[in-house]
């Protein structure tokens, strides 16, 4: 059942622990399983690691029968131990804590079967199959590698089990803890970073916790003409890192890194328009939207969001006074813009898919790539990247200006080649150095773009065998990575965190036990205390708890059509021949019970809104779940579509049903974001609905939106036939 993966994973953990099917070596060498955790309930410091005076985590060394620095090699740390620390406090190992929790009957297959919708016997079977493959079908490769303690090993062991969590997990409000549960499962099996395992791709692995903190100093943020000292996005490790003012109010319009969404490393795009329109936490005067269709498929609660974008506040001004939209097509959002900045398409500009951002690396190779113009724009458009460089230069941003005040970079192309984050480190890793002789690090190469174009726009740096596995503890890799700014300084072994101390710090803040900032709101305190559990746990998605299952018996989710990218392709002349309208898919047996059949029109109602759409039945769908393709529905007139386009007349969005705000609980002081309480990840898939057949004669999608106004220069004429070819047509 949607939203229950965490419970399933932890039930499997339960079985593995009972079987003792656990990779002890892996846990002791590479994870914090043996680390000692202070146990002083109700007292500050509870749940933090016991540390020595150099701040090293303590373990109990079975050889010396004494406490030892957990980082030291060759000691024999106890996995199961409950001890009294030198200072008299009690402490238990992480592994003791996790055994106590997951061996509990709560996580027995029998107790989770009903919630997961998977028979206990099946869960048992899966657990044993996983263990069997991990331990009885392990693969060994004769590859020499050296660990961080300088010990050379003559083989790598792979326990061929791998798990990949994407939005099916993260788009539920329990997604973060569910991902941790899956991670825990792989750590217990020793199935990480070995052959056949989930393996990090450059620039990962990174130090834990990461050292990239978001800028949170109001003096810096609000100082005029002053650049931020840190990135606006980052990874808080403790309450001090939150981006809030002295009263604990969010500093960011999306409320990221506030008490409500402390670890919002991706920001909360889906909250920006609502917050801005409600002037909460504050009003803004300009909203700039780039490459995001926020008035349509990219927003929850699309109907109201469109109203907010046009809303006039009391004094007759727009609630959001000035909206700038940067788009390459006439998207649904363009209609709401005060200023449209038409962008080039990706065929008409330079782009860098950089190792500094989200590169295309493979486990066996660091890689990045570029795009370069293959078409001349035939209309008045500018590459947004050039516009940004232009703005930055005219505003004389330090990074874009020389001492003498003259501009550093002529345009984006120039910027990408010559900007250096650190000496020798730039956006593109390939063919650096004057002659393109050095890779990953080296001085700027004026001919770098040409080099990429010569190599089909890709650069790939294959890792030598000895750097391919166990990179979190691989000396050769980590030292190399440090030299090339893929890892911090100094290079240290990355200890995999089964137990997360940063989470515990936030939890203590929620419990009022943290010596540092504490949330003023009782609601936030309660959320921190509940959801910032240092060990993975499962809780029912917030939306489901907010409403009774009887009223809204179905989970409603979307799925990406493999042949389309969001609303961005649903107008593509070829792809819309494959899918020009979407349906709501339901399990055939369920449909029969409800007296529903193929192509019936149905009302789909959530706690927030309702839509009318057309139903199709299928076999391969969980009995209590309905789904549809994401972002097929379009507003007529957008992206060149005619008024009769099926995308507009028959296609629909589930987004209307998803509220960006949770219903207000008795205990809540305010309505909270419909997101993961830890990371602020949008809970797109928590949606629950009821489904009712439309009365006879009631057909057609609802709601519908009037066709978009025609943009200047569009005569509305569309060809009746297209015949693409690079040869002479016959």
């Amino acid at each position: 059942r949607p939203g229950t993966d965490g419970l399933l994973a932890l039930a499997i953990v339960h079985v593995l622990l009972k079987r003792g099917a656990v990779d002890w070596e892996f846990l002791i060498r590479y994870t914090n399983a043996p680390w000692l955790v202070v146990q002083t309930p109700g007292v500050s410091g509870d749940g933090l690691f016991a540390r020595d005076d150099q701040d090293n985590p303590l373990v109990w060394d079975q050889d010396a029968q004494a406490f030892a620095n957990g980082h030291l090699p060759d000691i024999a740390p106890a996995l199961l131990a409950s001890v009294e620390l030198p200072d008299g406090r009690r402490a238990k190992t992480v592994f003791s804590l996790l055994s106590e929790r997951y061996l509990d009957e709560r996580y027995a297959p029998e107790s989770v079967a009903a919630e997961c919708g998977i028979a206990a016997a099946t869960i048992n079977r899966i657990a044993h199959e996983i263990a069997h493959v991990a331990f009885n079908e392990a693969v060994e490769l004769p590859i020499r590698w050296t660990d961080m303690h300088g010990r050379t090993h003559d083989k790598v062991i792979g326990r061929p089990v791998a798990m990949h969590a994407m939005r099916g997990v993260s788009a539920h409000s329990n997604g973060f803890q569910t991902c941790r549960a899956l991670h825990l499962l792989q750590m217990l099996l020793g199935a990480l970073e070995g052959p056949g395992n989930f393996r990090a791709r450059a620039p990962y692995p990174r130090r834990i916790p990461m050292r990239t903190l978001p800028e949170n100093d109001p003096k810096v943020i609000f100082a005029p003409d002053t650049p931020l000292k840190r990135m606006p996005n980052g990874n808080p490790t403790r309450p001090e890192d939150l981006v809030i003012d002295k009263d604990g109010k969010p500093l960011r319009i999306d409320r990221a890194y506030s008490w409500e969404s402390p670890l919002a490393a991706h920001g909360l795009m889906h909250m920006v328009i609502t917050n801005a329109a409600n002037h909460d936490p504050y009003p803004i005067d300009t909203l700039l939207l780039f490459m995001a269709n926020m008035a349509w498929n990219s927003s929850m609660n699309t109907g109201d969001v469109r109203e907010m974008l046009a809303r006039t506040a009391a004094h007759g001004e727009y609630a959001i006074p000035f909206v700038v939209v940067v788009d390459a097509f006439q998207s649904e959002t363009v209609s709401f813009a005060d200023l449209v900045l038409p962008d080039t398409t990706y065929l008409e500009r330079y782009d860098a898919i950089s190792l500094l951002d989200r590169p295309i690396s493979e486990p066996d190779a660091a890689a990045d790539s570029i795009r370069h113009p293959i078409l001349k724009p035939d209309r008045d458009v500018r590459p947004w990247q050039d516009v940004l460089v232009e703005l930055a230069s005219r505003l004389k941003f330090p990074a874009f200006t020389r001492e003498d005040g003259s501009r550093k970079f002529s345009d984006y192309r120039d910027f990408i080649v010559n900007y250096e984050k650190l000496p020798g480190i730039g956006f593109l890793a390939g063919w650096r150095g004057k002659e393109g002789e050095s890779h990953l690090r080296g001085e700027p190469n004026p001919k770098q773009w040409e080099k990429y174009i010569e190599h089909q726009s890709f650069f790939s740096y294959p890792w030598p065998e000895n750097m391919r596995y166990y990179r979190f503890a691989n000396k050769d890799y980590l030292e190399f990575a440090e030299k090339h700014a893929l890892f911090g300084t100094p290079p240290v072994q990355v200890i995999l965190q089964i137990y997360s101390e940063p989470l515990q710090k936030f939890r203590l803040a929620g419990q009022g036990l943290y010596d540092g900032p504490q949330p003023p709101s009782a609601t936030d305190r309660e959320r921190l205390a509940t959801y910032f559990d240092p060990l993975p746990f499962w809780y029912e998605p917030l939306e489901s708890r907010a409403r009774s299952h009887e009223a809204y018996p179905f989970h409603a989710i979307t799925q990406r059509p493999m042949m389309m990218y969001h609303s961005w392709d649903s107008q593509n002349v070829w792809l819309r021949q494959i899918v020009a309208q979407n349906y709501l898919y339901m399990n055939r047996g369920t449909a029969r019970k409800l007296g529903l059949a193929d192509l019936d029109w149905v009302w789909v109602t959530s706690r927030h809104a309702r839509i009318r759409c057309q139903l199709k039945t299928m076999e391969g769908c969980e009995a209590n779940t309905v789904w549809t393709w994401n972002a097929i529905g379009r507003q007529a007139g957008t992206a060149g579509l005619g008024a009769e386009a099926p995308e507009a007349t028959a296609g629909f969005l589930l987004n209307h049903l998803i509220s960006e705000l949770l219903p207000k609980h008795a205990s809540d002081e305010r309505r909270l974001t419909n997101s993961d309480p830890v990371t602020g990840q949008a809970a797109w898939f928590d949606l629950r609905v009821s489904i009712r057949k439309c009365p006879p004669g009631e057909t057609g999608v609802w709601p519908t939106v009037a066709p978009a106004m025609r943009i200047p220069g569009d005569d509305g004429v569309r060809p009746a036939i297209l015949r693409w070819t690079s040869k002479s047509p016959r």
Binding site: Q577, I578, V579, A580, Q581, M618, E619, G620, P646
Partner: protein
């Protein structure tokens, strides 16, 4: 199959024309004069007009008529090619026959050309029928009933047209009435036979299923399951395609029944009753001929609309 009106009209019109032509030639060969001399030349002209009209409409059906002349290329394997060649031969030879007839010349030359024309007409009728009867993906058509029906229906409608002339230009129509009636009954039998065969075939074991089409017997099924039903989930397009237009023609049962009724009553019952009653006036004959041809148009439309191409399996039909 999509019942393309151009093809429906073509097969009915040229069918009648060729039937008429064959009957005229046969009558001409017959030692005892069965027709007043005025009928033969007029009949030939009328027949050629019907055939020409049919062929014209069939050319309309081509997406690229400018290449129609190439269609003589595959005599050895293609019934359509053969049809094209015979059609091309028909007109010059028929004109020659017309001249021979018009100048009242008797003797060998006339006899030979009559025989040739008769064989040509039969050949053409057969080609048209075999174009359909030879298509493996459409089992309803793959039966001897198809050519039988085309040949007999051609002569039946031809005979009714001939009767109009026979009465109109004086002469002794009674033999023709009985001959027509005989042909009518034969044609009716052929058509009923074709329909029965189609119905039987749909129940028969030679029927193909969606499971066969996608290889369920060869292992395309869930693990551990031996027999499983297959269903179309998504055709890979939400709007029309050439394939859905051409092959996925859905005809409601009642409409099919109604059309069959119309085909039977107009195409056979009324004309036969009239024939048995003994025809008198040429105008009535004309009216009956027109009714009959209308009936045959319905019959021909059904011939296509009822036919189920195997492509339908891949679009979700459970069986052909």
């Amino acid at each position: 199959m999509k019942p393309a009106l151009s093809i429906v009209f073509f097969t009915v019109a040229s069918g009648a024309g060729l039937g008429l032509l064959a009957l005229l030639a046969l009558a001409d060969l017959c030692p005892v004069p069965l027709l007043s001399p005025a009928v033969l030349p007029r009949g030939i002209v009328l027949a050629l007009l019907l055939v020409a009209a049919g062929l014209a409409s069939s050319v309309l059906h081509l997406a690229k008529p400018s290449n129609a002349w190439r269609s003589f290329a595959r005599l050895r394997t293609s019934w359509l090619s053969r049809e094209a060649v015979l059609a091309a031969l028909l007109f010059p030879l028929a004109f020659f026959y017309l001249l021979v007839v018009s100048f009242g010349a008797a003797g060998v030359r006339r006899a030979v050309s009559a025989i040739v024309i008769c064989l040509l007409a039969w050949g053409l009728l057969l080609c048209t029928a075999m174009i359909y009867a030879s298509l493996k993906p459409i089992r309803q058509w793959r039966t001897a009933w198809t050519p039988a029906a085309y040949l007999l229906l051609g002569h039946w409608s031809g005979a009714l047209v001939l009767l109009v002339l026979a009465i109109g230009y004086g002469g002794e129509p009674r033999i023709w009435a009985w001959l027509a009636a005989a042909l009518g009954v034969a044609a009716l039998v052929a058509k009923l036979g074709y329909w029965r065969h189609g119905a039987a075939d749909r129940r028969g074991k030679s029927v193909l299923t969606l499971e066969q089409a996608i290889g369920v017997p060869q292992g395309v099924r869930p693990p551990g399951v031996s027999v499983a039903q297959a269903r179309l989930f998504d055709a890979g397009h939400t709007q029309r395609t050439f394939l859905t237009d051409e092959f996925i023609f859905r005809l409601a049962r009642r409409h099919a029944q109604a059309l069959r009724g119309a085909a039977l009553v107009l195409g056979f019952v009324i004309p036969l009753i009239w024939l048995v009653a003994g025809p008198r006036h040429w105008a009535a004959a004309l009216a009956v001929a027109v009714l009959a041809l209308a009936g045959l148009l319905a019959e021909r439309w059904l011939f296509f609309a009822d036919a189920r191409h195997t492509v339908r399996l891949y679009h979700g039909d459970a069986r052909t």
